[in-house]
């Protein structure tokens, strides 16, 4: 942590991330309005003391919607990334430690999943499942799992012939114990950093799907749907699109700077790359 705090970019990133998390967690305390409350009499009001970021086409307070939208973004990002990590780790360990034929089969599976364009995959899934938060999370998991699994697999292959693994095998340790007690702790570090750098990507996927009407259903606030609300009137009431876009930029920058700094701290050889 001390090393992280010595990096200005890392501190900046951490501040942005803390700001976003704080806003999302304390949304009910920070906002004076119900984010879904419609009041057409005050629609399209610019930023003011009453409405810090203005109001949208239905008179909803944009500041409240942005704060509550942060909850959705972070929920999707954290939950789906965690699920992806768990699945990726298990599949990667199996591929790396299992027999050659299983490894080949799983690599084929990972590459097939990776080759699907994200938007096409999202459209296909939404056609089957209907637009929902679950659909967004399934898309995120399917998009990110192959990458995580591949990294774990590569690290597992490199480590499975190490002396301490051989020693565990000779002492009669089960495969499960070897994988989760001996190999996993040695391969998980880089993955956690990678996952933190993927969070902005996940948030962008959620926002993108909601922008296209494929994600979170109205009236639940989402940064993507705020952006969409602002898109149709961007030339007259640009503050709506700005209110939707700004948190996406802040969060993306925050997690990216934080992730890069963490990577540099844990692996100085990669610094500046």
């Amino acid at each position: 942590m001390r090393r992280l705090l010595r990096e200005p970019l890392g501190v900046f990133g951490l501040s942005l991330v803390v700001l976003v998390i704080f806003g999302a967690v304390f949304a009910d305390l920070l906002s004076a309005y119900d984010p879904t409350r419609i009041n057409p009499r005050v629609r399209f009001q610019g930023p003011s003391g009453d409405h810090l970021l203005g109001t949208d086409q239905l008179g909803r307070d944009l500041f409240s919607r942005v704060l509550y939208g942060g909850r959705i973004a972070l929920f999707v990002a954290l939950v789906s990334t965690a699920v992806s990590l768990v699945i990726g780790i298990v599949l990667g360990l199996i591929a790396g430690y299992g027999p050659r034929w299983l490894d080949n089969l799983m690599i084929l599976l990972f590459d097939s999943m990776k080759s699907f364009p994200t938007v096409m995959l999202a459209l296909a899934l939404v056609t089957i499942m209907g637009p929902s938060l679950t659909a967004v999370m399934v898309v995120v998991v399917l998009v990110t799992v192959p990458g995580y699994a591949r990294i774990i697999r590569t690290q597992t292959i490199a480590i499975k012939t190490s002396e301490f693994v051989t020693a565990a095998q000779s002492m009669g340790a089960s495969n499960g114990r070897i994988l989760f007690k001996h190999i996993l702790p040695n391969v998980i570090g880089p993955l956690v950093i990678l996952a933190s750098m993927d969070i902005p990507v996940v948030i962008a996927i959620e926002a993108g799907m909601s922008f296209l009407g494929l994600g979170v259903r109205p009236p639940t606030p989402s940064w993507g749907s705020i952006l969409n609300d602002g898109f149709s009137s961007i030339r007259d009431t640009a503050w709506i699109a700005i209110a939707g876009g700004l948190p996406i930029i802040i969060t993306t920058l925050g997690f990216t700077f934080l992730g890069e700094t963490l990577r540099d701290v844990f692996d100085p050889r990669l610094k500046g790359r």
């Binding site: 419609i38 494929l214 259903r217 109205p218």
Partner: protein, 519 residues
């Protein structure tokens, strides 16, 4: 000392020249085309799905179909309703039950299907009217007895009874487009998206799904020519996106969002003309009476009373459209001044309680457009106010327009749907979609009322405007009573075009592609 020859080519000058040449070559074809006015680029709100006059699905398809399959007559562009002949040299009503026509002698079908004949006219009309074919447009020819072929080019259209909409909403629509009997029979009875035996002022030469449709003047067409050599039709669902496309110079003409009209009229983009036309369309919330959760009429009536129609319309259109009270637009027989249900949340809650439907959850299907989404969110808030949870489901146009079809697997799950239908200038063209025959076709509310059907048939034969007015008002009253409908607006049509283009438009703003000309 040596001097560099003046024509010497340095690396830098070579790159500059190559760059300039490259830029020039990319611009030249476009400049040449636009200078000659050869290419018109317009936006349509949906991509084509079927090019069969008997089974078409949307208004943009109508425009393409009547351009590539010569219709007997088409609507005239301008501010008053009228028609002009296209495939026919002459056409006239001999008496209340007979129409005589004679085709132009030199209209041919492409792909080697020969000359257009009266036999093709007979086939084209009778295939729509034949109940066995289940054309959703069979109602257009509901009064048809038969088409009698007199000779190669002439024939008589015989009716069973007088049919008032014939010259307003049957003949000037794709219901009078003439297809090749031989070609359609070879195709197995239906035309899909790859038309053969085209015969119109234009030929469809290219269709890239979701990207563009290209029409090119038919070189063998000998009669009134379309105004442009080529017409490129770009499907863009969202009008706000289309407006950006227009302002970027990518489109010559587009419909705009109704909600954008106040802004565009106040501050039109340079070199453009903004149009506002009275619309015949109607927008409504449909409630599927056969859905398990909505079978009780009290629940449907509760939904009617829960919705604050003026607020929905104001929120969606920003004051640019007035509240409508039915499916028949002002100015036509049957247009109403009010609906028979009012906004009364208390009454709505009481009805729900009486029906034992407290805690009801419903799904509202909409087309993925900003105006519809805004309207849907107000409806959602209104329903929440009376205790109904409403989930909004956004659909792209391809999915949306098949939601209530009995061919699909969703029509019984369909609960609420926010729809918009365009219309032709006769009230029967609005009422026909809600008859029992249309259940599961275009009647997604599955409203099935024998009295309504009888009144519809009566209206088709009644020529007295006062009596027609009474008939159509009564029909909309029955729709109200069913609880299946909440009527919102007739909208207005907003359009924008470059000032170098003279658009061919019907009085209600619908486009007639072949009538677009250079200004």
């Amino acid at each position: 000392m040596t001097t560099q020859p003046k024509f010497g080519l340095s690396r830098r000058s070579f790159l500059a020249s190559a760059g300039a040449f490259g830029a020039a070559t990319t611009m030249m074809p476009r400049m040449a085309l636009s200078q000659d006015g050869k290419v018109l680029t317009v936006r349509s709100y949906s991509d084509l799905q079927l090019l069969d006059p008997a089974f078409r699905l949307s208004l943009p398809e109508d425009d393409i179909i009547r351009s590539i399959f010569a219709p007997m007559i088409v609507p005239q562009s301008g501010d008053t309703w009228g028609w002009k002949p296209i495939a026919v040299e002459s056409i006239e009503q001999l008496d209340g039950l007979t129409v005589a026509f004679k085709l132009h002698p030199e209209i041919g079908f492409t792909d080697g299907y020969g000359q257009m004949t009266a036999e093709d006219v007979k086939f084209s009309i009778e295939r729509i009217a034949d109940p066995a074919n289940e054309s959703p447009y069979a109602g257009d020819w509901a009064a048809l007895k038969e088409v009698e072929v007199k000779d190669t080019l002439s024939g008589l259209i015989h009716l069973n009874n007088p049919f008032v909409p014939l010259w307003n909403t049957t003949l000037p629509t794709p219901a009078s487009c003439i297809v090749s009997k031989k070609a359609v029979e070879e195709l197995g009875g239906k035309i899909a998206t790859d038309p053969v035996a085209q015969s119109g002022q234009y030929l469809l030469t290219e269709w890239v799904p979701k990207q563009k449709t290209v029409l090119r003047r038919n070189p063998d067409w000998k009669y009134e020519q379309g105004g442009y050599e080529e017409i490129h039709i770009i499907p863009i669902e969202d009008p706000a996106t289309a407006e950006l496309g227009f302002e970027a110079g990518d489109l010559d003409y587009t419909w705009t969002a109704v909600s954008s009209l106040p802004r565009l009229k106040e501050n039109p983009p340079e070199g453009s003309v903004v149009l506002e036309k009275p619309s015949l369309a109607y927008v409504w919330l449909g409630i599927n009476q056969d859905n398990e959760a909505l079978q009780d009429v009290r629940i449907r009536r509760a939904i009617q009373h829960a919705i604050d129609r003026p607020t929905v319309v104001d929120a969606a259109y920003f004051g640019a459209a007035a509240v409508g009270n039915g499916i028949i637009a002002p100015g036509l027989p049957g247009s109403r001044d009010a609906v028979t249900y009012d906004y009364d949340p208390e009454k709505s809650r009481a009805l729900l309680e009486e029906a034992g439907a407290t805690g009801l959850s419903v799904t509202l299907d909409i087309l993925n457009q900003s105006e519809r989404l805004t309207a849907a969110q107000v409806i959602q808030a209104n329903l929440a106010d009376v205790g109904i949870t409403c989930e909004i489901k956004q659909n792209d146009s391809g999915t949306f327009w098949t939601l209530g079809s009995k061919e699909g697997d969703y029509f019984m799950n369909l609960q609420l749907v926010l729809s918009r239908f365009s219309m032709q200038p006769d009230p029967s063209w609005a009422t026909v979609w809600f008859t029992p025959e249309q259940v599961g076709v275009w009647n997604w509310e599955r409203f099935d009322n024998a009295e309504y059907k009888a009144l519809h048939d009566q209206g088709l034969q009644e020529s007295d405007p006062a009596k027609r007015d009474e008939i159509y008002k009564k029909m909309q009253g029955l729709m109200d009573e069913s609880g299946c409908y909440v009527f919102f607006t007739h909208e207005v049509v907003g359009a924008i075009h470059k000032d170098t283009v003279s658009p061919g438009l019907k009085p209600n703003g619908e486009s007639l592609l072949a009538d677009f000309k250079e200004a």
